[in-house]
Assembly symmetry: C2
Homo-oligomer: 398 residues x 2
């Protein structure tokens, strides 16, 4: 895909507990922000197709299916094809990948990728904690779910194994929370804009040992979108397009008992390998990244699985400040899922918004990372037993 | 897309009430049949990406989300990206469209499109009748659903308006059932393989006036898949590839009260217009078609909306035998949704299987239609208030 597809505009809404907004308003506000972000202007009529990432309307707002007509009605564009996609926690990134394929196919010149999730309206056992790890088994037939194995429980299996095999500690995990909360304070779109200390994380209640409450990302409402187009026409919309070098989805077994390891996720390894191959670059070429830190231990594992460091090195590098916003390779300058929030289908496209802004050097000065190669990466992992991962690589030049 | 993408193999399972099979087995059997159908053989390793159409696992089997890892685990291929798509009743056709875009993008040479639905395991108000028209509002917040407006109720609004504006009668509708049941008898994959008479249809119970029970398609379990690849490499897999000339999705308002008409569906009009434009052909060039006859009146409306005849002419042409299997333009030689069944996400890909076999002239002699141009069309319409439609145009030559 390298060189064929560019981003010309992005938009999102501040993530949070948006009880006052319906899914429609969230989508509409993100879409308006996205249209308005296109430097030289764009009309809805320029958009020729769309992909709408939506994870689990069925569980969260009682709408089990959300066909293309839903998004068409929300954005007032019924003249184009729209596909709803779903792919676990990477739903947004995978919708973006499909949008890029649509442009690369030559069938559509300009398309929209959208992701939105309403997570907070519905309380009880059908909420994320229960549903996430078991494939969104909202009505409960997935075996992991019946064993009570929601997100934190599944991740605790990894966290304990990381401690056993790699020598990681609860302090190492807490340090991820401290870094990402610090970053989130400077991000106007983040759900949690407060600092946390090591002590506060380590004194917060245990959700599932060894994970404390403040090792877990929040449940968040949000919407985000991006407009992608043929790279060769991008400059008619903006003088500073951002190019898509690689976009790939990797899979693994859908059941925990089939996993080969609890310190590595093959879905991420595969997604990253394919994305780097597509982009023709190496992990060292990436300046900074948004990484799926649904739990603090997961960020450390992902950094290793993507290839930013060797297995077992991520925690030491964190201690040395390597992943800090002003470090050698800033990770989650937006605050990450931990502080920015994790509205499933909006998360991946929200990361792409952040990377677009950072590559164009238009975020608040205290949040702006230093650019060398002008290349950014974003990553998600989730779905049944973390069996789905997406990696997206963006660049400010071709 | 014309000329870029070809089908090299298809597979499905006999549709029906498959209480003895889980979703996994249904998918696996269809996949095996599909692999085995490739004339010169194919390996799972040749397949580089997949799209998995699945409408409403949430409602039907208590699995609200079905990420790519689900299909990967079912077919034993975790080395490729897989996206789950959903788009109302056209879910299968739209998954196929996305697969075609994947190949046309140049990123993947050979890909799989799959659709599967388990409709019969779950009884009660959450079943298709309640959920279909209201956007799969399984837990019931969609306004149409709250008004009790499931599939037959919504279609009855159209059927009565067709009677009022076009002079159609209950006998005209019954005649569609008679034709399609007759076709289904000869199809080994059809759910209902029995003839019905005009009297039997007209004496069957009214579901919602003017629609009788035998004007409605059944609720059916099923799975179907197709392998598509770059047209220029298709002959390394088969001497008789079938080419994809056009594939398009059209949308309309998601609420009934916004519709401009009850004798025409803009979603179908738009899907067909775009597909014909992409294919560079006219409706008259099509030899035969599989058309979305979820209700008998819907088939007549669709034939007009696609452009096979003028508005108000479809019923007369039916009476003259024009749409019969041995008529000028055979419609639903497979038996259609009416007799073949309607397992939502499997339906569209099942139509594509049928058209592939017909274009290759390999169905039972009594079912084989006569070919002139060697061009076939398939069509679905559904989703929220029938706001989504897909049209796929296949050809045995480029």
């Amino acid at each position: 895909m390298r060189g064929k597809v560019a981003i010309i505009g992005v938009g999102m809404i501040p993530f949070g507990e948006l009880f006052e907004m319906g899914l429609e308003e969230m989508v509409q506000q993100a879409y308006i922000n996205c249209l308005n972000s296109v430097d030289k202007g764009i009309s809805t009529k320029d958009i020729k197709a769309a992909w709408f990432g939506q994870w689990s309307g069925g569980g969260m707002i009682g709408q089990g299916a959300l066909c293309g007509a839903s998004l068409a009605t929300m954005i007032g564009n019924r003249e184009i094809p729209i596909t709803r996609t779903e792919n676990g926690c990477p739903t947004g990134s995978d919708a973006f990948r499909n949008a890029c394929l649509g442009v690369a196919s030559g069938v559509y010149d300009v398309v929209l990728a959208m992701g939105a999730e309403k997570m907070r309206d519905k309380p009880g056992v059908e909420s994320l904690i229960a549903a996430g790890g078991g494939g969104g088994g909202i009505l409960g037939l997935h075996p992991s779910w019946m064993l009570g194995m929601g997100g934190p429980v599944l991740q605790a299996l990894y966290a304990t194994r990381q401690m056993h095999e790699l020598g990681y500690t609860m302090e190492d995990y807490a340090r991820v929370a401290v870094k990402n909360h610090h970053n989130g304070v400077a991000c106007p779109y983040a759900h949690y804009r407060f600092e946390v200390t090591m002590e506060r994380v380590l004194n917060s209640p245990i959700v599932c040992w060894p994970l404390h409450l403040l090792d877990c990302c929040p449940q968040t409402d949000g919407a985000a979108c991006a407009i992608v187009c043929r790279a060769d026409i991008a400059k008619s919309f903006t003088d500073k397009p951002v190019y898509v070098l690689g976009s790939n989805t990797g899979l693994d077994h859908k059941n925990m008992w089939d996993k080969h390891s609890f310190v590595e996720m093959l879905s991420t390894v595969r997604a990253a390998r394919g994305a780097f191959e597509m982009a023709g670059i190496k992990p060292d070429d990436v300046d900074f990244a948004e990484i799926h830190d649904c739990f603090t231990n997961t960020e450390l594992m992902n950094l290793e699985d993507i290839g930013f460091c060797k297995k077992g090195e991520a925690a030491n590098l964190l201690r040395e400040g390597y992943w800090n916003r002003d470090g050698a390779k800033p990770i989650n300058p937006s605050g990450g899922l931990k502080a920015h929030g994790h509205p499933i289908a909006a998360t991946g496209i929200g990361q792409i918004c952040e990377n677009y802004w950072q590559l164009r050097e238009e975020v608040e000065p205290e949040r702006q990372v230093k650019l060398k190669n002008g290349i950014a990466l974003s990553h998600n992992v989730g779905g049944d037993a973390f069996g789905v991962s997406c990696v997206t690589i963006l660049s400010r030049s071709l």
